[in-house]
């Protein structure tokens, strides 16, 4: 109840203070080889968590979410950017800062639909007829990632 009230309150404040970039949600989005956002003020971030898809605004309840292969959508004031991540964790902190640590993340539009389709067919083949159990499981994970990637590309 209290949490709900807090959320409503901050969303009102945000409409008044959209220009004040220093407050609001501060996003740090990093993969091991690249820093995508570093302490940047954004309006909203939508993540695909294991527990379900969720949208994060400023003053969201502090939480730790495991990311599943899917799209992380970053909404800056006017622009929306979509990144496909392979997995990782998102930590929402009490001070309205959101830390997303992923293993791999690339803009959705940079993926080639053709290559995804090709790899998906290959992975599906391996998942059914892999030589070892380990290989099959690895292929199944690959299928899962590629299917969600394909869905992300098609949804664009």
């Amino acid at each position: 109840m209290l949490i709900n009230k807090k959320l409503v309150l901050t969303s009102i404040v945000r409409t008044y203070a959209t220009e004040a970039a220093a407050t609001g949600l501060r996003l740090t989005f990093a993969v091991p080889h690249q820093t995508i956002y570093k302490d940047t003020s954004v309006a909203q971030v939508n993540i695909a968590a294991v527990s379900g898809d969720m949208g994060i605004l400023a003053s969201h309840v502090p939480s730790i979410e495991q990311l599943r292969p899917g799209v992380v959508e970053v909404i800056e004031n006017a622009i929306t950017k979509k990144y496909f991540v392979s997995g990782g964790f998102a930590t929402m902190n009490p001070d309205s800062s959101l830390n997303i640590n992923a293993i791999e993340a690339f803009p959705v539009e940079e993926f080639s639909a053709e290559a995804v389709r090709h790899n998906l067919a290959e992975a599906q083949r391996l998942a059914n007829s892999g030589a070892t159990e380990e290989e099959k499981i690895a292929a199944k994970i690959e299928v899962e990632v590629l299917e969600s990637l394909q869905a992300a590309i098609n949804a664009k």
């Binding site: 740090t28 990093a30 091991p32 080889h33 820093t35 730790i64 979410e65 495991q66 964790f89 902190n93």
Partner: protein, 290 residues
């Protein structure tokens, strides 16, 4: 005590140098050539290191952001180490030498931290052969695991997670893990500092952690992920420090080789002239005797 013992050694050395000054031209020539070659090698190693430095530094910047972003949870939840005897110390170094005191710096720092923490059950995991040699001199019994093949190029996240997997699979139990690595302070300075990782129990027990909403099931993975991130951070930053230390070490070596070449060339020329003079004297004395 030490100084008095060092004295006779030093005098013996200078006697050796004196005999070397009397060396024949050929001996000087040989030395000159070998030092010139060493100078060439160190110079090219310096060039290689300096091209790698900028790449390693860029990787370090991103790894720092990545590591700091994941380690923010410790700060936000006010995590404190559990009172426990099971501590793990991870020494992050590499296989490659010829880079100054970078490996002894982490080894020394780890020894100091272990001594200060006064834990009875200190497990040590060593990343890199160079630090392994140093740690096994003082803490052989405590080394649980060691990894090599580190430091050929910029460490990857896959390497860090493989290390964490192996540590987990080996059944090493720990409540707090301290990762000691060389922090890159500037192009000419590095400093061995620790990053602390906590066990899940320590994280759960910290005062700020209750504020976080999380599924019980993902926390185990989350904590392993944090540990891997910290190791990745330590490896990449350590690599950058190593490369810049290597560049400095090789630069100094090249400079020293150049100085030695100058000195030896001078001695060579003088000895050559002395030889010519004495031969001339011989000839002239011989001629005047006739």
């Amino acid at each position: 005590m030490f100084a008095t013992r060092a004295q006779p050694v030093a005098s013996a050395l200078s006697a050796g140098v004196q005999t070397r000054n009397m060396a024949t031209l050929r001996e000087i020539q040989l030395r000159l050539n070998s030092i010139k070659n060493i100078g060439k090698i160190t110079k090219s190693m310096k060039m290689i290191a300096s091209t790698k430095v900028s790449k390693a530094q860029r990787a370090m910047e991103t790894a720092r952001t990545f590591g700091a972003s994941s380690a923010a949870i410790y700060k936000n939840s006010n995590a404190t180490p559990l009172e426990s005897e099971d501590n793990l110390f991870v020494v992050s170094s590499s296989d490659r030498g010829l880079c100054g005191g970078i490996h002894s710096s982490v080894a020394k720092a780890t020894r100091k931290i272990i001594a200060q923490s006064e834990v009875k059950n200190a497990g040590i995991v060593v990343l890199g052969d160079k630090a392994k040699n140093q740690m096994s001199r003082s803490n052989r019994g405590d080394i649980k695991l060691s990894f090599n093949q580190i430091g050929k190029s910029i460490p990857t996240f896959a390497e860090a997670s493989a290390a964490v997997d192996t540590i987990k699979a080996s059944g090493v139990k720990f409540d707090n893990a301290t990762i000691v690595y060389n922090k890159f302070t500037s192009a000419i300075a590095y400093e061995a500092v620790p990053i602390t990782s906590y066990s899940l129990d320590a994280l759960k027990g910290s005062e700020g952690f209750a504020a976080y909403e999380a599924d019980e099931g993902v926390l185990e993975d989350y904590n392993d992920f944090l540990f891997a991130n910290n190791i990745y951070w330590a490896l990449v930053e350590g690599h950058a420090s190593e490369m810049s230390a290597k560049r400095n070490a090789m630069e100094n070596a090249t400079k020293n080789a150049g100085e030695m070449v100058d000195r030896l060339t001078m001695t060579y020329n003088r000895t050559r002239q002395a030889a010519i003079t004495s031969e001339l004297v011989d000839i002239i004395t011989g001629a005047s005797a006739l």
